[in-house]
Symmetry: C2
Subunit: 377 residues, 2 copies
Amino acid sequence: MAKKRVTLAQVAHAAGVSQTAASYALAGRAAEMRISPEVEARVRRAARDAGYRPNAVSRSLRTGSSQTVGFISDTVATTAFAGHLIWGALDQARERDHLLLIAETEGDPQLERELMTAMLDRGVDGLIIASMYTRAIAVPPVLMEAPAVLLNAFPVGDEMICSVVPDEREAGCVVARTLLASGHADGICLIGASPRGEGPQGSLASVQRLEGILSVLHAARIDVAGAVGCADWQPAQGLEATRRLLAEVTPSALICFNDRLAFGAYQALADAGLEVPDDVSVISFDDDPLASWIRPSLTTVALPHYELGAAAVQVLMDQLEGRPQESAERLVRRITMPLRVRESVRGLAHDSAGDAAARGAGKLVGAAPARAHTTVQ
Amino acid sequence: MAKKRVTLAQVAHAAGVSQTAASYALAGRAAEMRISPEVEARVRRAARDAGYRPNAVSRSLRTGSSQTVGFISDTVATTAFAGHLIWGALDQARERDHLLLIAETEGDPQLERELMTAMLDRGVDGLIIASMYTRAIAVPPVLMEAPAVLLNAFPVGDEMICSVVPDEREAGCVVARTLLASGHADGICLIGASPRGEGPQGSLASVQRLEGILSVLHAARIDVAGAVGCADWQPAQGLEATRRLLAEVTPSALICFNDRLAFGAYQALADAGLEVPDDVSVISFDDDPLASWIRPSLTTVALPHYELGAAAVQVLMDQLEGRPQESAERLVRRITMPLRVRESVRGLAHDSAGDAAARGAGKLVGAAPARAHTTVQ
DNA sequence: GTGCCCTGCTGAATCGGATCAGCAAGGGAA
DNA sequence: TTCCCTTGCTGATCCGATTCAGCAGGGCAC
């Protein structure tokens, strides 16, 4: 039924030359290897006529490169809106003629090691180890067999391994600056983490966002008017935390540590009869699809998943191509988190062209085109 | 730095036997090939001591099987909540010691063909072609080189190729039956598609859900009290469609064709001063994470993404292991869409243990454990 | 004429494991 | 003693590319 695949030997035979000559001709090394133009043309024609496609497995065995990159995540691959990480990686890999082997550890270190070895055994050129939320990762020794890049994670020790992470601290700064620019000063409150260190355990994002926020406020000689930390950042916690906050102070602006918290905060504010943004501005982090669905739409600093994934592949490929990390400085690549201006902050000019346009424009400067929002189910 | 990998030849040498003997010993074919237990033990020990790991590339070249499956989707891999498709496929593949090569076509048929050949060239054992929404797919001839399964799609012609799809029609029946069981009869309205055929173009889900709904209502001698079709199924369209509906009739129950439409419908109902579920019941399809976040939480028939992905791999593996599709009947595998009972339908006992429990229970019968909802960002 | 270089190719090894065919040694039957 | 069968292993080939080393034959210089 399925006719056997054509091999290089058959092409060579058809062209009446040796396999070696055929190989050089097709590899574009004809001049270098002194294959005459006539022979080269004959080989190319024979290959085309026979529908020859080189066997990548065989090539891998000989060359040691499989044109394949491994992507191992803890939970990110299947997480609601962070699949864009993979999307970016996929696109960037394809651009360089690589495919992606993908797997998930579900947080199991044993499984993580097994998957790494399974991929290395299959000859991947490099590995990307991705984490759902920014954290420190213990790098197993087996990872040293091939180039590797940590995505959304740092090495626990001081291993010489590259990291690609969102610039959470800068995002915190942007959020604070945005509120200041829109005229807020007193009455700025935090939902999700507090200066007393309350927040989700082990979440670097929490710490760094807070750092950024406080540094800007501090420079402007402003104190937060209130803050409620949450162990988990879901809508229910946002609702509860905002209720508790409202019992004590009347905020003028809420910085929610992610969009799901903000979603809960919206409900608490509505319950209290407060209007967004007229009574209270709300700004948050992540740019969950949710953020553009709720009303008023949520101004938020986006986690640039697409760019993160793409950058990880880029950094990895650069390593593969022999550009080693120049210095310790270059070991960490921080990706800017872009502000999405919408309706939830008082006095900010909302991009009137709407979200689609905002994202479309984003694409021009390297961001992800909007897709998840335009598909039909 | 990275010490060279240990090869079978080295293991054989260390054990003082031929490479052939070592190969048979490690392959578990010692008895069959009359390798003595002592030699077998010696080889195994040598392999363990040396940290031997077989080179999968080499094995692939010889055996023709790479223990790898290709997963090509149009947009599903990176779509918000349908990454669970991949999750199911990943889990099922790992269970059978396979890894997944993943790629996206972004709907480009040219790219689709390129990716298929790229994967086939890399020796994948089989391919899964997944679609974001259930539709017909033109199967390119190159796909015939290896076993393949369509996920969420049908072949355009009558190719002998397996399909795995959600049972949309039955889901429509379940939705209708659920409303009837909770006492609704007159005043049932549709948002998203209408009996006049209005709905998103090319969406089989739309047609089949409608079919199921109408068949049950028809059997109960009930007509829909109103229906508004939408070309796109986003919150904005749900809002708009529901407004138009409310201008004409006062519904007792709304069947929304997906959760995002329902989200928009909630807003329209709230604007009209109608309470869910006391004034109007709402039921819908998909079980978007959104459905459990909004208040009142949404009763919906879930798209079983995890199960779909897992089933696709299962069907593919069965084919690989030589269980060919027995009959045309077996070419299509329909996966049940489970009802998630929540608060939005009047008079239905809501599972008081909440969503986590509902999903946890689901896992016991093979559904996906809840994860996206419990991660921290 | 002979040594040397240049052109234009080919032979054979290699990557690492799977597997078929075969071979030596030993035992039992005729 | 001869023949055959079983046991327990090994040699050699194969998978399909890449690539190094080498080899004819022609031209040119001295």
